[in-house]
Symmetry: C2
Subunit: 480 residues, 2 copies
Amino acid sequence: MTRDLTLLTDLYQLTMMDGYLKSGKEQDVAVFDLFYRRNKVISYSVAAGLEQALEYVRNIHFEEEDVQYLRSLGLFDEKFLEYLKTFRFNGDIYAVPEGTVVFPEEPIVTVRAALPEAQFIETALLNIINHQTLIASKSAKVAYAAKGDSVMEFGLRRAQGPDAGIYGARASVIGGCRSTSNVLAGKMFGIPVSGTHAHSWVMNFPSEYEAFRAYAKMYPDACLLLVDTYDTLGSGVPNAIRVFRELRAEGHEPKGIRLDSGDLAYLSKCARKMLDEAGFPDAIICASGDLDEYLINSLKNQGARIDLWGVGTKLITSADMPALGGVYKLSALTPKGGKEIPKIKLSDNSDKITNPAFKQVYRIYDKKTGKAEADLIALRSERFDESQPLTIFHPKDTWKTITFTDYRMRPLLEKVVEGGKPVKPLPPLSKICAYAEEEKESFWDEYKRPDNPHVYKVDLSKELYEVKNNMISRIRENHG
Amino acid sequence: MTRDLTLLTDLYQLTMMDGYLKSGKEQDVAVFDLFYRRNKVISYSVAAGLEQALEYVRNIHFEEEDVQYLRSLGLFDEKFLEYLKTFRFNGDIYAVPEGTVVFPEEPIVTVRAALPEAQFIETALLNIINHQTLIASKSAKVAYAAKGDSVMEFGLRRAQGPDAGIYGARASVIGGCRSTSNVLAGKMFGIPVSGTHAHSWVMNFPSEYEAFRAYAKMYPDACLLLVDTYDTLGSGVPNAIRVFRELRAEGHEPKGIRLDSGDLAYLSKCARKMLDEAGFPDAIICASGDLDEYLINSLKNQGARIDLWGVGTKLITSADMPALGGVYKLSALTPKGGKEIPKIKLSDNSDKITNPAFKQVYRIYDKKTGKAEADLIALRSERFDESQPLTIFHPKDTWKTITFTDYRMRPLLEKVVEGGKPVKPLPPLSKICAYAEEEKESFWDEYKRPDNPHVYKVDLSKELYEVKNNMISRIRENHG
C-alpha cells in the first residue's frame, strides 16, 4: 500500500530548495539530525517508524501533475520545476534500529545529503518518526505498568485518522503491546488481531443471556463475554457463568469476561470471586475503558484481578503528550569543494542549543550486569582506544572515568541508506519487537518507573563538548 | 488518492457480523447514532470529515487477498467469507453538513442499514469523523482567539502520521484557519499554501544578512524573514530592515518578519517600533512557536503587535484534548418483518445513558437576532405544528415555551446516502468553510469564549424524554 506522499512537505522546503539552487548551494552537503528535546513527560523513548520513513524517501518523485500544481502556485520558475522532474533522494541516512531505547538530544536519524535533498525530506521524516516513536514509547510505558500481562491495542476509532490507527498499531506492538483490534494493521504487518463483541451485540438480542449464548455458540473455545451492558454483577457475570456452565457441559472451556466500565478494581475482585466459586478459576478477566499506564499501575496497586488489558484512546493518541516534538536540525555543512563545517543553532533557552557536527551515539554497558550505564554523543571522527580509560563528561554533573575491562561501548546509529539505496533489508516486525524487549530489559527499572524516573545520563564526549563551546563563544562574540 | 481502507475496522465488527448472520439477524435494520459526550474541555464542535467518511463507505469491498487474510485467522467459516466477497454498504446515512456547529449528545451522523452493514462501518466512521471534528473544533477556537487575524496551519511535522497532517489541514480550514504549510493538502483540497523559510536557511549562509538578501532576491514582493536564528532584536530585525531598505530602493515593498521563539509579546512590540521607525509601518509581524488559543488570547491581552499567526503542534494534535471521544451507539432496531424498537444503553454514570430511537436534531433560532437559542433532539416521527407554541424541556433546568412568531426551527440532519448511493454531491471545501463561518456567527460569543463558556442548551423533546424514561424504568426493573 505505497501511496505517493512526495508532496507531504511544508511549502517552505520547496522555496528553500529553490533558493539553494539559485544561490549555488545545490551541491553543498548538509548533515541534519532528527532528535527530540527533554520535557516533563518523557523519560525515554522507543524509536519507531524508520521503515515507513525510508519507504517515503525511496519513493520520492514528482509526477507531472505535482509539477503542474506547483506551477499553479506562481512561486517557482521553470528551471526549478524542471529540476524537480528528475529529483530523487541520493544521500546517506544513518539511524538507530527501530525498537532502540533513545533519550533526549540523541540523533534518532542523521541525514547526510546534498542540501536540497536533505532539506526536502525534513517534514515527512519528522511526521513519520515523531508519530511512531511517540506511540511506541507510550506503549512501552503501558506494557511496563501491566507487569507481564498482555496488552491489546484497541484505539483505532479514536486515532487521529486512518494512518494514526494503522501505524499507531504497528508502533504499539514495537513498544510492547501483544495484539491490535485493527484488522488492516493486522493484515499489513502480520500483527496478531484480537477482539470480542460490543455492547450493541448484547442490545441486539432479546436478553443478555441469549446474546451470550449466541456468541458462545460461535466461539465455544474462545468465549470472552462483555458483561457490563446492563448491570455487571447483577446480570452480566451471572449470565456469563450460566453460559460457561453450558459450554463446559458441551465439552468446551470458556475464555473469560471483559469489563469496560465502572470501578474496575472493585468489579474485577467481585467477578473473580464469582467465577472462582462457580468453578471457573481459569476464566480470565479482561479490562478496558480509558486505561493508561497510570490507571493500570493504580489498579495493580489496588489488587485488581485483571489478567488482560485493552488499551485504546490514551495509547493511540499518547493522550498526556500527543506530540513527541522531534526536530531536524542542521549540524554540519560541506560547501562544494570545501571542508565540513560544524553548524549550531543558538537559543535564549540553553536547552534548545543544538549539538553541532556529524556525530555518533554510543551506549556504555556495565559488563557485569549487562545494563546500560550512560550514553555518549561523540564526533563521528572520534576514535576510542579501548585499551585506555575513558572519561565521560556530563555538563550538569561531574566527570567519571571508566575502563573497558568493566565496560563496553556500542554505537547506536547504523548506516541504512547509502547514495539513496538501502544498505541492507530492514528487519521484520517480529524481530523489531524482540529487539525492543531486549532494549527495554537492558535498562534498570529506576529509569522506567512512571513517577519521577531516574534521569539517564547522556553525555557529550570531551571533543564534542569543546567544539560546541567554542562555537557558542564565537557566535555570541559576533552577534551578541 | 482513494486507498482501499475496507479492513480499517476492529476485528470484533467482523465476528459480530458473522454472528448476526448465524443468528438470522442479517436483515434486521439497525439505527446507530455517532455523537460525543460532554467533557471538561469541549463546549462546542465543528463537524468535519463527512466527505472522507462517505468515500470510505462507498468504497467498501473485500478483495480476494482480504478474504484470504481473514481466512488465515481461523475465525470465520467459508459461508461468511463468501458473504464478504459481495458485501457492500446499501443503507441510508443522515448527517449534519460539514462545518455545522454541534454539541454533546447530538447525532452528527445517523446510520440506518441492515445490521451487519451498520455494524461494519462503525470503526472507520468513528475514526474519520472523530479526527476531523476534533481538529476543526480546535481550529475554530484558535481562529476565535485570533479575532479576525489570519491563522496558518503549520503542524504537519508533528501530526500523528501522514493522514493526521493531510486531513488535519483540511479540518483546520473548516474550523477557521486560512492556509496550510502542507503542500499535499494544498494540492488535494485546493487549500491556500503558505510558508517562508527555516532557521537552517539562515545557518546555511555565511551571515544572517546574506541569507535574508538571498531570500529577498527570490521573493522580492513576498519577503517574510525569520529573524530569531541568532538574536532577534540585536541582529535579526536590524538585518531584516537593512534588506527591506534595499528592496524598497529596488522598487519592492517587503512583507514583514516572523518571530518563532522568545517572549513574543515583548519582541513583537520592540520589533513593531523598530519597523515603524525605519519607515516600514506596513511590514507585518508573524508569530509562531507552540501557539494555541490560550496563548494567542494572552498575547492579545498583553497588547502584542502580531498580525499573522502560524499554529502547529497544539492545533494539529488538539493537544489539550487529543481525542473527541465520539461513540456510535445503537438507538433502534427493526427485526425482519417487525416494527422498529427503540434501544438504549444504560450505565452507572447517568451522563453515559444513550438517547433511544431514530431521531432528528432541530436548532431553534431567535428570528430577531438570528442567533441560535437552543437545540432540540426529537423523535424523527414527531411533527411540530408551527402555529402552536412549543415547550422545550431541559432535564437539568426548567421548561420554556416559545412560539414560532418569534422563533424558527431548522433540522440539522440531512439524508446524504440512500440505499448506499449519494443523495446529492457534497459541497466543495470553499463552500464548507463559508458555511462554517456563518454557523459560528450564529452563536453568541458567550458560548465561544475559551474560559468558562456558557453551556448551550440541548433539550430533548417531551416525546423523546418520555420514551427514554420509560425504557430506563423498564430495564431497571428487569435487570436491577
